[in-house]
């Protein structure tokens, strides 16, 4: 792409509708890679997604089984707690509503867990109702490992640390339990529109 059109794109972004930018955020065209550890490289043959915890029997899907479920393509804005926001990102994946459809549970919270040991917590009602997905494609391409591939959680209405990379399952919990960043002082809920960056915000 020529430098001229890059500059033009930049101007367009700076004209982004301010109503779409949460307080304290700036818009970027890049897709910064943030990580608290090494990037796992999980072969698809050994990948699975498991819902466990407050449930009679854990349920699991292989990669092939996940691909066979109805998928959705979502266009959404994402907001990182390190202050960048990226608009109109396009993801493909399976709604958590689909995965939780047959699950009977008394749990009110979930902890997402990932290859590499990362965890993040959220209320179950934020993981359902068309608000969260297991995303395996970005811009129509398989999700790159540095962005969380083969699959990541996508919960775009919360700060992006809640959208766990390399996700492998959900632990259903009756009691809330802080995940990785939540246990180091980040906000337990993380609503970008209320600028809930740190505990107490």
């Amino acid at each position: 792409m020529s430098p001229l059109s890059r500059a033009f794109r930049g101007r367009r972004r700076s004209d982004a509708d301010p109503a779409r930018i949460p307080p304290g955020q700036y818009v970027t065209d890049d897709f910064p890679v943030l990580s608290a550890g090494p990037t796992p490289h999980r072969p698809l043959e050994t990948w699975s997604f498991t819902i466990q915890g407050s449930i009679d029997e854990p349920v699991s899907w292989t990669w092939e089984q996940l691909q066979a479920l109805p998928s959705e393509t979502i266009t959404t804005d994402i907001h990182c707690v390190t202050k960048w926001s990226k608009l109109d990102t396009v993801w493909t994946g399976v709604s958590l509503d689909t995965l939780l459809d047959d699950v009977e549970t008394s749990a009110e919270y979930v902890t997402a867990f990932s290859d590499g040991g990362y965890t993040t917590n959220l209320p179950l009602e934020d993981a359902t109702g068309g608000k969260a997905w297991i995303a395996y494609a970005f811009d129509g391409e398989p999700l790159a490992p540095e962005h969380g591939g083969p699959a990541r959680l996508l919960v775009p209405h919360l700060y992006f640390w809640k959208s766990a990379k390399w996700v492998r399952g959900l632990e259903l919990r009756n009691e809330d339990e802080p995940g990785f960043w939540e246990s180091y002082g980040y906000h337990n809920y993380g609503d970008p529109w209320r600028e809930q960056r740190y505990a107490g915000d």
């Binding site: 890679v33 990580s35 550890g37 090494p38």
Partner: protein, 92 residues
């Protein structure tokens, strides 16, 4: 993403501990590996700074700056050897 080494946090460790820490030994509470802080695997591009054991990749130190205050979490460390003063009035 490739990790940096512990030299990447030499400055902040000096601020936190008041001593040059890169040659200080850090002992992992998970696997017991003992290594100079300079050899830790450090991840800076994250909501906080994370230092991991090179042997088992357990999290040893997490530094998060919250409203101008740096919180240092050391729960993954068994021991961190901080240089004692070697001056005439020191006891080291």
């Amino acid at each position: 993403m490739d990790a940096l080494d512990g030299n990447a946090i030499a400055g902040v460790l000096f601020e936190v501990f008041g001593a040059e820490m890169t040659t200080s030994a850090a002992v992992c509470a998970n696997c017991g590996a003992r290594a100079p802080a300079a050899e830790l695997a450090v991840y800076l591009r994250a909501p906080g700074t994370v230092a991991r054991c090179r042997t088992c990749m357990s999290v040893l130190m997490v530094l998060v700056t919250i409203h101008e205050r740096t919180c240092v979490d050391l729960r993954g460390l068994d021991t961190l050897e901080i240089p004692a003063s070697r001056g005439p009035s020191g006891w080291g």
